[in-house]
Symmetry: C2
Subunit: 522 residues, 2 copies
């Protein structure tokens, strides 16, 4: 509805950009080919997985938080081929001017272009996930599986990237409150997906009003520099601006103190207004710092607020925060606060972190290398034939065939490895063989005493295009994240140079994989 | 329509996330305050500008290409306050459980919450732009100007960032064809904004079917590895896959040759199929390389294709391309091609560049630091009072008051400086005084003989909420980009360490600015 300005055809506005044509051109050229050769309805399986953790320059993540499944399933179950889509496809011409898509194909597509034959198994949103593990498995006629590819990748890659970054930011705060403030510099409409992913990944609240309302999470915010500037321009000042704010929001009074000068003007004015509020029986909330040396200013502000009797006032920090900056700010406060007579622990417990651009763009690594690979296609007799794609890089050879994924918990109850096997396997808490995914001769054996639980990770969510299991809301996804992080070793959760989590294959899958590679090479 | 899964209220689905509540919470808390104090309808002016060029790690841009205005204006003119929006606002509670927004305010907002009183002047899409220059100026009642802030920033920051990256990618190709392939790893729905911005900034075509259709630019694409894998899995092979493609698309046959082994399998099979096509009177298009050493493989592929008589075959390159990688590939081809008996110039002219993730995420710097600052608010007598925001960093002090922007062209016809002045100034090709924006004592004087043209850059696009001038489509924006780049010095266009373009103030604006700073400090 929002990108329709450029092309109007015979008074019909084409609105195709968020529907089924939210895809790459080559999906349609391939589907037409499959249709021409009569293989469009061969059952096939595609796996969605990412190959490596996001790497933000000097520091790479040790785990990801999967997100985006809910909106993907909603898109899939709503998408259908419209007249506008067919009109757009009819318009396309090849080099010689002939139609790219034949009428026969478009007639077929008009009636068969949806996702009503698609099955989807996936790992629920909010869970901790690792490279090369199938996070979503699509089983569908070849045409539908191919048509879904681009949108599936788009719907899962970005939210997983942002939920991962948000989880790191939340970890860096040591249990503090994170507010997502990123809409203004977020990538276009993906601001909404970023809000949702941030809330799943670690932010408690967001400033994004519309998306917060839709998700049932109250939005948060107070005021900007512009409010103080407006009062200054029309013959008032910072104090008048703060008083106005306190008058309208006496029980939610959090003041931005750096429009003029934080320590010389903002904090003294805030204290004046807080005293006025207190005398009227209200408890002020606190202040926000948005520029300068945030750690130092937080200490100095805390000192002044404490001296004035506002030792409970929250101190919100914002301005280009990310996980390492937050970590450094907390470290600096621990070092420097005692010099100013401020108790660092008490101050840290009152900090609130407003995190924007760097979280919602995953600054340092703004895309996840998620891929969607053919792993099986049925032959003419309806028998599934495992598909392989080889590569000069062993780590990039795809794991073939229909698969299951299990998480292995150690005797201490922490996750020790994810195990990828064939769908008909059922590993149990017995002796388990784990094989290295790209070095088949390397492996390890876990005895029954070393394993406390073997948990299947994939859930059947969509069967024949219909949702058959509850995808859950943001709250449930958050609960899954928290439970998973509690069972993840601290070394894997570390912000910098984390310990590598193991993803292994079952012996049967490993054998199939290297047999297919050997067949293709010969 | 697409994010509605999480909250259903009394059978009414809230769909607020792309409407007027696509904004930050604090805009509404400030607007309620302005309304309470009766200053919500004071005419005010806000400027949108960015502070610094994107900096992609080692290499910073020397100019930007502005984009996003068309979709912004469309959103503004369509956005209105709905019952769902009011319901969402009514739901919000403060710390004590009281409603954040009063009924009086919400009643007012319901009838007055749109942008029907907004005026917008802006620099048209596709133009070359520089830091601190107002790219969009909003003149509106304080409430409307504030309500618009977040969405305006979101609508302009990301497209300008991506159009800038795309322009650099296009420059790096030396006039080659760039295809935008980024949807799968683009940030969610911003894939569509990225496609539009890429097409304005430098991509000739995109793989994004829906958005391309809406923009009236044909989408492009051929096939993926999955097609070859599917033929292998169901008892065919790469050759059968290529033959199938050639049969369906005999005049548009471009084959992806790296599924198995580019030089051992892909190119020999492609040549076989090209010969079959040729014998039937068709001209094959070429091949695509998607892995390995793209420069080396392009040379070796060209050699094999030329030996087989296909010296016109295009060679499309893809896989993690960005401007520096493209520059390096071209350099390597110039160095290495003669060793293989391949003419580098002829090969370079046949290259096509498929660019994805790194362009559509602006890899290296994934957000533009665009801001929206109060520069004037009318007082109770209706007189515009210039507003200022000071900072410890002189470069961050806002330029106050209503403004105009002019581009100064040298006697050679190239752009030599952008000049920011007060709206009632009218600089001409006479002697011109240019003052440094943060060092008022530094400036330069241009004599009439040194100036060939003084071009006003801002256009009145929206008056009282209605569009009064044609915003233009993607083709027109592209034409503006090309014209502007042709008049930009090569040193400023350079990919690495570009020459700094001058942005200056008129003496009158500079005097106003530093007088306000001095008043505020005293």
């Amino acid at each position: 509805m929002l990108f329709r300005s450029d092309k109007h055809t015979a008074n019909v506005v084409l609105v195709t950009a968020q529907g089924i044509l939210f895809t790459d051109h080559y999906q349609l050229t391939m589907i037409q080919l499959y249709h021409r050769f009569g293989i469009h309805d061969r059952t096939s399986q595609f796996d969605y997985f990412f190959r490596s953790y996001p790497d933000y320059g000097e520091h790479q993540a040790g785990y990801c938080i999967v997100a985006g499944l809910g909106p993907l399933v909603e898109w899939m179950t709503e998408a259908e081929v419209t007249d506008a889509d067919i009109a757009a496809l009819t318009d396309l011409r090849g080099r010689t001017g002939a139609n790219t898509f034949s009428d026969v194909f478009l007639d077929w597509l008009r009636s068969n272009g949806g996702f009503t034959d698609v099955n989807l198994r996936a790992i629920p949103e909010g869970r901790v996930v690792h490279p090369n593990v199938p996070l979503a498995i699509i089983e569908a006629p070849l045409a539908a599986a191919q048509l879904l590819e681009t949108s599936l990748l788009n719907h899962l890659n970005f939210p997983t990237l942002i939920a991962t970054k948000a989880s790191r930011v939340a970890e860096a705060t040591g249990g503090g409150t994170v507010l997502e403030f990123g809409m203004r510099r977020a990538p276009g409409w993906a601001a909404n997906a970023a809000t949702r992913a941030s809330l799943i990944g670690g932010a408690q609240f967001s400033s994004n009003m519309g998306m917060s309302a839709q998700l049932g999470v109250p939005s948060k915010g107070t005021h900007a520099h512009s409010m103080v500037q407006a009062f200054i321009a029309i013959a008032g000042g910072e104090l008048e601006a703060f008083r106005a704010y306190a008058e309208v929001y006496p029980d939610d009074c959090l003041l931005l103190v750096d429009t003029i000068d934080t320590l010389e003007s903002g904090i003294p004015n805030a204290i004046k207004v807080f005293e006025e509020l207190k005398s009227k029986g209200h408890r002020p909330v606190g202040i926000r710092l948005d520029s300068g040396d945030l750690a130092h200013l937080a200490i100095r502000s805390a000192q002044m607020l404490e001296e004035a009797g506002f030792e409970e006032a929250a101190i919100a920090l914002s301005s280009q925060l990310d996980e390492l900056t937050i970590f450094q700010i907390r470290t600096q406060i621990i070092d420097e606060a005692p010099n100013w007579g401020v108790d660092p622990g008490a101050l840290l417990s009152r900090l609130i972190y407003g995190v924007g651009s760097r979280m919602v763009t995953s600054d340092g690594d703004p895309s996840l290398d998620g891929v969607y690979k053919t792993v099986s296609v049925h032959d003419a007799d309806g028998l599934g034939q495992p598909a392989i794609k080889i590569s000069d890089t062993p780590a990039k050879v795809v794991n073939p065939g229909p698969k299951g994924v299990w998480r292995i918990y150690s005797s201490r109850g922490t996750a020790t490895a994810d195990l990828i096997g064939l769908a008909d396997e059922a590993p149990t808490v017995g002796p388990l063989s784990l094989v290295h995914p790209s070095h088949p001769s390397v492996g390890r054996q876990l005895e029954a005493t070393e394993v406390s639980e073997v948990e299947p990770l994939l859930v059947d969510f969509v069967r024949k295009g219909s949702v058959i299991a509850d995808l859950g809301n943001v709250e449930e996804a958050r609960a899954r994240r928290k439970a998973d992080l509690a069972r993840l070793d601290a070394g894997v959760r570390r912000l910098v140079n984390p310990h590598t989590y193991h993803v292994s294959l079952t012996p049967r899958l490993s054998e199939l994989k290297w047999r297919l590679v050997s067949d293709l090479a010969n």
